[in-house]
Symmetry: C2
Subunit: 392 residues, 2 copies
Amino acid sequence: MPGTKPYFSTDFTLGILGGGQLGKMLLYKTRQWDIATKVLDPSGAAPARLACNQFQQGDLMDYDTVMDFGRDVDVLTIEIENVNVSALEDLEDQGVRVYPPPAMLRTIQNKASQKLFYTDKGIPTAPFTRFAYTSEITDSLKNGGLSLPFVWKSARFGYDGQGVKIVREAADLQGLPNVECIAENLVDFATELAVIVARNPDGEVVTYPVVEMEFHPEANQVEYVLCPARIPDKLAGKAREIALKAASAYGAVGLLAVELFLTPGGDILVNEVAPRPHNSGHFSLEGSYTDQFEQHLRAILNLPLGSTDNKVATVMVNLVGEADHRGPVSYEGIGDILAMPGVSPHIYGKKETRPFRKMGHVTIADASLEKARETAAKVKARIRVQSKTKEA
Amino acid sequence: MPGTKPYFSTDFTLGILGGGQLGKMLLYKTRQWDIATKVLDPSGAAPARLACNQFQQGDLMDYDTVMDFGRDVDVLTIEIENVNVSALEDLEDQGVRVYPPPAMLRTIQNKASQKLFYTDKGIPTAPFTRFAYTSEITDSLKNGGLSLPFVWKSARFGYDGQGVKIVREAADLQGLPNVECIAENLVDFATELAVIVARNPDGEVVTYPVVEMEFHPEANQVEYVLCPARIPDKLAGKAREIALKAASAYGAVGLLAVELFLTPGGDILVNEVAPRPHNSGHFSLEGSYTDQFEQHLRAILNLPLGSTDNKVATVMVNLVGEADHRGPVSYEGIGDILAMPGVSPHIYGKKETRPFRKMGHVTIADASLEKARETAAKVKARIRVQSKTKEA
């Protein structure tokens, strides 16, 4: 029973695996609720090293480190998928409440098993073929089992856009690592959407409004994340239903960020999921009655879930390091963007920038989505993540 | 020029005098913006001890302590008025940017000089008489210079409702400390309002929507803080103008919370001010495009000020310790209030409760002020700040 739990007391500790920007933002809420936290991260300069009650430096993939870290916490959660799942499974066996559930995390960590899961559960996803090694793809192409183009995805460690390549001709396979992988049908001209779902151990579940990723017309890179998505209500409802179905099938606890493709024909396909706070949910800090970090806390502490309604519309812009800058970061134009209406910068606190490194994000909130989108374009044009020492 | 300032870099440190709940909430934003902070507080268990980059334990009223603390920061601010102002003045002379300006803080710290300031500047305030000692009041009553009833206020250290007494008959003066004080005309049946003003060193200034304090019909204690206030637009405009006038007269930098009386005749009088984030501005965390803590940062860093518009309506309820509870705190009913729509609890992180101690607050956000007010009543009825060890 929620009211009787000792979360809001000194007796309780929440453990967080990973101390990056997501962990840092989760700590805004643990501070607001005065929930004691312990964070494990390999970097001594991790953004979440402040604001937690205890910070521990250590390898998230090391079994013993994770076991030692997790043994004395009441609830253990993650802000990154690449953690030692065997340790999580053993901690769960020892009575630690681990959310997301380790079994779910194991399925998600491997893109092949994640895709098979959708097929098994009747959750729409792009057709794919699984390969034990990339080298097997060449044979499959020759004998007609597979046709071009397709998307090659490494089954493991695909986090953060690495390990994905569009293969339009056989030569594109050259240089790819010879690992377990999938070849997925290329869903062309799709609109990319995302839905954040939250579910607590009691099975209470909510979905956030659908967000839309707007791509740069030439660079093929997400430029803006808009909430709500500019799609018909019926499609939005369908997207939320599919996300809900995925979360329930997984038995998710905590957040599940579900990335979706909307095909030109109106089909909605699950691309992939992340069982944690997600970039596509950052809008909620300014836009929602309950932001994704608070919702994650509510869910993993088995508290009642909060309203996912929007207070206002939002457009989110990622702040990534300029292509030719590397070294101590400086943010050019912050003063100027702060003069624009409804602008909230989030600076993650990474001390060094690298080309395309995610250094922060800016949310633009406005009663009108259209106006927020206009301001977002101005923000994007003005802000630069640079280094004093520009690369040659 | 805002864009050229090094606030968003490792070269900059913001010093904060006081590490209570206001300092703690200010740190939500310094973390979001990755601004390095140093906090001074007499208590080693201060709520803001986490989330700052450096925490120092020390006496805020001690000249040397404040001088040593402030010498190496770039900007120095406060979250409590009772600090050594002489040290702030000397730090300012040495080139530290101190906001609020020490001269203003000196005027505000003494309620007699604060009241004289309003009279001098033509800012409406309740008529009053200044006394060097409380004992002089008796003579003044005898010779007809003063008439009953009136409000006795100690000139110094009036922070947090202490040092104020309504004197309805001469006998009420008994037991009051014999100190510098004022006797102020009692403004009866007034509605209490407040306006948060923000001003930066360049003189840019904004006001927040007027909030209304709703009192418990019997207990004469603020029960709810509503934003926006349920008063006609014309009166709200007048209240914002008066608050603006006060901030400009003071040459305020940072926030100025202006507490006002609205008399039954429609006059608006300044009661008192606080040159810092304020309880009456907590609504802004959930209600405003720019919350008061971010606005304070923007102002003291001479950045452009943010929009003060409401996203939604809010009602704020303070969480104070139950009358008969003292000791390690426990929050009864948190789980239940989290099931209500738009509810955001803020737990300050004080480990011990005492009768009427401010332990946190709850904001209820809703598109409809009326609905927020209904939910607030349910929150108020459900939540209890208790101690496991109840007093006899």
